[in-house]
Amino acid sequence: MTATFIQGDAASCSRIGGTMRRQSARLRQHAQSLDDALAEVMAGEGPDADVALTAVTAITGSLVALRATADDLDQAGAAVQRYATDLAEAHELGRRAQLRVTAAGLLLDGTRVVEPWGPASANEAEVRRAQVSEVQARVDQATAHVGRARARLGREVTRLTERLAGHSRVKHSAGASVLR
């Protein structure tokens, strides 16, 4: 039984988070290779040193942006993976709450635990009614868990989106490189 009141697919969130982190690691490797290649150019002296320095200056900007983007991608991937874990936990809490709802002979209206319509003995109705608040607390626990996770992810995503947009703006405004 899956909890119908907790939406979302933890596996797909985990996959995209993993992709971001894998790409981040790949970008860092490229940044390191560029760094090594530049170090050799920097070691040069003599009449070509000016050309070398200009080249290095131009590439350094891209290298800084490459590293910063890799860092942001890693943080974004980590945030999405954390959300995927929280979502999976919320699904499990929701599944247990749903079982409890059914076992208590109650129904869910969205995330609200309600008593079913129809004839019931006074005793049966009283037993159900007595369980409503406890079962509702279980449902609330699952929805609060996923709610907190969404808020946390929202804050992280907003921060990282601004940073990524910032890197993009810097690269666009840089326009022509120093070499020109």
């Binding site: 979302g8 050799e40 050309v51 131009a58 070499l179």
Partner: protein, 104 residues
């Protein structure tokens, strides 16, 4: 006087090749990001995640362009340095020949 350590134009070519490889890798990363589908299960969260992915893909695409531009410029610099080397080598060997001629 110690021999001058000159920057080998082949080094510029090597860096340019690395820049090109990095540019392609960054572009691949951009394409892979937007190819993924995720279901956050909540419309505002989904929009936030989608916006993040779009910005990340745009940033990577723009970074890829900038790496490709740097590679081209570096290749031009390598060509310029190589030509200069060639001219200086010719001049110096012509000078040696003249020097040898004077001595004989």
């Amino acid at each position: 006087m110690p021999a001058e350590h000159r920057v080998d134009p082949a080094l510029f070519d090597a860096v340019a090749a690395q820049l090109t490889r990095s540019g392609y890798a960054v572009l691949d990363a951009s394409h892979e990001l937007v190819a993924h589908y995720s279901d956050a299960g909540h419309a505002p969260t989904q929009r936030a995640v989608d916006t993040l992915i779009d910005h990340a893909a745009d940033t990577l695409a723009s970074l890829s362009d900038s790496l490709a531009d740097s590679a081209q410029e570096l290749q031009a610099a390598a060509l310029q340095t190589g030509t200069q080397h060639h001219r200086e080598t010719n001049r110096s060997s012509a000078g040696s020949r003249r020097g040898l001629g004077q001595r004989s």
